[in-house]
Symmetry: C2
Subunit: 144 residues, 2 copies
DNA sequence: CTTGATGCAAATGGTTTGCATGTTT
DNA sequence: AAACATGCAAACCATTTGCATCAAG
């Protein structure tokens, strides 16, 4: 599979820009790639990483995420009021979340094409939505 | 204007449900109505409120907002990483924000009709989006 | 060797909570 | 009077920061 190949690409890109490739950066990127569909928070990442690298401190994870965000490789998504979650920039998706039971539906990026087209047409705005969360009632709860 | 009339309605509704109508609740709702287009945070609300009611404590503002949220009159919107902002539920709107210059375009609720219709059709999900923020580049910055 | 990243511990800042008191109904 | 909301101060928790040390180029 392409998993680790993609990762190497990212690391290469960093090195190319003159940034240092450290254990922490390697490991954080790897963990993000591995748990992309789990909306990991900073501690969750740290906890998982520490199973193999007990010396990687939580504060380092924060600093690394901040760095990667600045480099455009990672973005944050605040989940309503839950904690902040982190994702690889390549991992674009959106959510519909049920207010009542919390059920989550994952939406493809193109679900918002109508909105983005309209923004471009009416305002010249080039939308690049990364992580939107639409609230509402899922089928089951709406039936109540 | 209808401003205070709407407010009275909300207060009535609360009373009707058996909830108490206190100074704090009155004042918080009033301030939310007054500053609806400014995305106020909890302290900002507290600060403004305290100009006229110095005895309304910040923690009370938090508790009141929590209560109002539970009552469905208010919702929270996390702004990327900025602070949490609070809005009257009646005040539905969405944003397109420029990543580069921060310019904000306000979008009407119906801008998302295509998505909400699709969610209903494909998943039976009744979307009630309240405050979405689409990131991207505004016309000026995209031209760069 | 030089620059920049890390570990650790301590500080920060927004939000929550326990408890005695005041207010609404 | 009974139930509940409030003020206040202290607790909390996620995130940030200062500084001495360590690793990458």
């Amino acid at each position: 599979m392409g998993g680790s190949a993609d990762l190497d690409e990212l690391l290469h890109e960093l090195r190319h820009r003159g940034a240092r490739v450290t254990t922490a950066r390697r490991v954080v990127l790897a963990e993000l790639a591995a748990s992309s569909d789990q909306h990991p928070t900073a501690d969750q990442l740290a906890a998982r990483i520490q199973r193999a690298h007990p010396d990687v401190h939580l504060s380092t994870v924060y600093r690394t995420l901040e760095f990667l965000e600045g480099s455009g490789l990672v973005f944050r998504a605040g989940f309503g009021d839950g904690a902040t979650t982190y994702h690889l920039s390549s991992d674009r998706h959106h959510h519909a979340v049920c207010d009542q039971c919390g059920a989550v539906i994952v939406l493809p990026d193109r679900a918002f094409d109508a909105v983005t087209n309209r923004l471009r047409r009416d305002h010249g705005f080039e939308a690049a939505p990364r992580h939107l969360t639409i609230t509402g009632r899922c089928a089951r709860c709406a039936a109540t």
